[in-house]
Assembly symmetry: C2
Amino acid sequence: MENKMKNTDKFTLINELARRRGFFWQAYEMYGGVSGFVTYGALGAKLKQKIENKVREFFVSNLGIMEIEGPIIAPGKVFEASGHVDNFKEPMVECLQCKKKIRADHLLQETAKLSASEAEKLSLKEIKETIEKYGVRCPDCCGDFGEPKYFLTMFQTTIGPYSDAVGYGRPEAAQGIFVEFRRLYEMAREKLPFGAMQIGHALRNEISPRQGLIRLREFTIIDIEFFFDPEDPECFILKDVEKEKLRLVLAENKLRGSEEIVETTVKEALEKGYIKIAWQAAFMALAKRLLMDLGVPGEKQRFVEKLPWERAHYSKQSFDQEVYVDRWGWVEVSGHAYRTDYDLKQHMQFSGVDTRVFKEYEKPVEKEKTFVKPLMAKLGPAFKGEAQKIAEMLLEADPEEVEASIKERGYYMLGQHRILPEYIEITREKVKELGRRFIPHVVEPSFGSDRLFYVALEYAYRVKDDRVVLSFPRDIAPIQIGVYPLVNKDGLPQKALQVRELLANEGFAVEYDDAGSIGRRYARADEAGIPLGVTIDYETLKNDTVTVRDRDTWKQVRNSIDNLPELLCKYFRKKISFEDLGNPV
Amino acid sequence: MENKMKNTDKFTLINELARRRGFFWQAYEMYGGVSGFVTYGALGAKLKQKIENKVREFFVSNLGIMEIEGPIIAPGKVFEASGHVDNFKEPMVECLQCKKKIRADHLLQETAKLSASEAEKLSLKEIKETIEKYGVRCPDCCGDFGEPKYFLTMFQTTIGPYSDAVGYGRPEAAQGIFVEFRRLYEMAREKLPFGAMQIGHALRNEISPRQGLIRLREFTIIDIEFFFDPEDPECFILKDVEKEKLRLVLAENKLRGSEEIVETTVKEALEKGYIKIAWQAAFMALAKRLLMDLGVPGEKQRFVEKLPWERAHYSKQSFDQEVYVDRWGWVEVSGHAYRTDYDLKQHMQFSGVDTRVFKEYEKPVEKEKTFVKPLMAKLGPAFKGEAQKIAEMLLEADPEEVEASIKERGYYMLGQHRILPEYIEITREKVKELGRRFIPHVVEPSFGSDRLFYVALEYAYRVKDDRVVLSFPRDIAPIQIGVYPLVNKDGLPQKALQVRELLANEGFAVEYDDAGSIGRRYARADEAGIPLGVTIDYETLKNDTVTVRDRDTWKQVRNSIDNLPELLCKYFRKKISFEDLGNPV
């Protein structure tokens, strides 16, 4: 670690810096603070926007993914369908004495020294047994615990004046994409593959969040749902990424207790079957590049495959992209899940709206198909007034299923009604099929914006000559240029304000500062991560030239004011380097 | 109205277009939709971002206001302090027969033909009387109504596992700024005036929202809180805006039943006392300019002063900025409230944290001050063991208040304790005061992002040759440039994709389209509001020139590809006009 300041870990140093310079702090401080909620200050909000815009550059501008913006509150049905109401819960125990409530798996990690993966796996019964076996007691008052229970970690509310209209704060932005699938598919001109992205606040009612920006109750999620035909999973960007190297921790190794890194190219990972879906591998490669663009080197990243019981209920294969941070070790910054057709299928069942798409064959295919023909002459006597309705329902039933059931059991159950073989006629006909109807499959890269923010901050953190410098990559720095009069007299401030105005009008994020010595102002700017400082001195008044100072090397070059806008524009788009901004001073 | 299409009003036309082209639609359609929630599609989300970035340009870049980002969920105390728990409610009646719940003031507007202003004013008792007087019954089933009740229009939830930890979804982003005042003041280097802004989702649990984007349960709010010294309310941008004309509807005229427009400059409005605070007038002028930049002409805007009973509980003077729209008439797009020190004072009382600032005098001022000295020799016998505590409390009491009470009533009540004149000594001393300690005052401009979005869409809506053209101002158009091969062969698509790539790399929002005839593609682009179309034709292959087409005039110019990036950059920053982009074709 570069940081040798007072042996304090970076998490502490960064939180202190963040509060002091207004990057972020715990929200509602004046009311004692509320765990799991943060407020981003002026510098932080800007940095966060820059990071989110970087994500947009990767996925919206370059890849053509559609960004949408939906609500945070959803009606209960959406999260019943998605499985969250059943699955989005954490085991909790309550101290019978002091009434403190604790997340049970975390408790057992700390007290019974289980690994996270072991603790996560336990049922309520097993939790109870483990507590008893290890004699675990309340860490606050030594009291006994009551029965472990599940706690729903969604925020619940009511929509409108009717108390039965349950609503939830979304724990992910993905469902807001799935439920709008039909419209999105139209917007994609009814062609697969396509993707949709949503960036916005999401809510998880954690039992007792700690870890600052790493575990929040309200956070910003970036969910991308990428829809493709499972029978045509070809990835059109594979060429651009196939040589990208990924550092994988595979499930098969984890099962053996090993965290061994398998370093492979995207191409190899697909060939060897480490990653099942080409699009998922491609997104993992892009996620690696994104993190590199935020300042995290490739060797500080890895992708950890989730074990079956660690995976979310909807996922067939999942990788967590992890970044190494000073205090917490490996921390997840994005998840890559192969959600298959799970969500669209669930919403189809719960809403009755067809989420299948139709894909025309290049030429029609001749197929033998089974048909079920209801025989009214038999249905009439058997079902009387209901016969007509039953005949219609039979026409809608899956003929293969009807046939199989009759073959197997001698009848078919249509709801409550038993359909005997003599009620129907089963025929086979050759038909021309024009295409297939199917539910698209989905791979999902999902980023935590706050965690991207945190790792960008930690990897920008340097100490130089006992001062803090935030060496953000120049294209995500919250403020791009500081403008300073060398001294506060002789018309220098006026000239500096003109330069500020000129650069601001050209669209740069500029800050003017004339408080204190120039050295103090440079130090303040370095700590805020401002890549360039433009200083107006006595020479400026003579020949309209200024010095430009580099945050990281503290080198300076000189150039005329007129040349600056174009050069700076190229510099911030990474087309030229600092040395190209002028002549060395 | 330009729209002569089928006599349908613009609201309907725009909603239909918005759904079809993916600007926005009611969210959760597949579950039947939920009133008051919308999803913005790809075009809509981009347009909304552009509008929000325009707001940032006005207030953050130009005026130096700090943007912050805080949570949507707040602990109960925040909204108890702000007065929302007591005041943020609507009167509601329930039909005893069909159980339908209806917002009472809206009901009486429709049935008893009260004006909005009259209906808003009614107490629950008056609502009941009006219902009885007019014999108002349920519009659905003709049933009778029960007792009118208040309905809290905040979304309520619980934070964490303890059921008494009430949280609310914020109905405004303002409180998220007020509660962080101390940090923000530090970030402003402890100088007034300064402002902070927050853009984000907010929640109002409307009883029965209609009106599409105009009245939502979940919406995006843009709150700016501008803090200033009430004894030094000078506005440093007044010079830039003093000649701006405002169209005001004054409260004094409204009281006479008139909606007469008083057209004045900002300067006049302040001199005549129409607007109390210079900063408020300046923000109103900027708000007018902002709306003009979004495409709403000045004469379609007005500022309506709120009557005392129409104002929010925290406001001393309020103006609504209204825009005229086809279906709804005048609709509020921003509110301008003089919140005084109300919020900071409330949070100081509820949290115990001092929200006052200290402002040094230029030189110390000598003042006579009153002091209260507790006399222990008297307090001891009177209060025994409590005497010491009472003495300390007396030192903290306001001496002027103690003196006044004793003069008036012969004693002073310190909590439960009666303090008689002989228990204390009141002295007057000359002291040097170094400065003042006070709570800053606040003016708040507050915009509804969704309403800005709606009016931008309605004012962009044109019909030309029976086709829809969305004539967005070029700097807010969601897509900037369409790139088209004239025909789909002979290498034109390949060349067009190169041009697309070139322009995208220069940072433009570009869309490539090769589906259908070029006329159809132009029409599709006009309907999406894409300002410029770049077409690659056979001449391009010879001399690397392309045509550029203007969305609004359908004129075309020709220029070489190499010249485009710089010219387009200037064009979108409104520095040159369409004719400057090349030679007429």
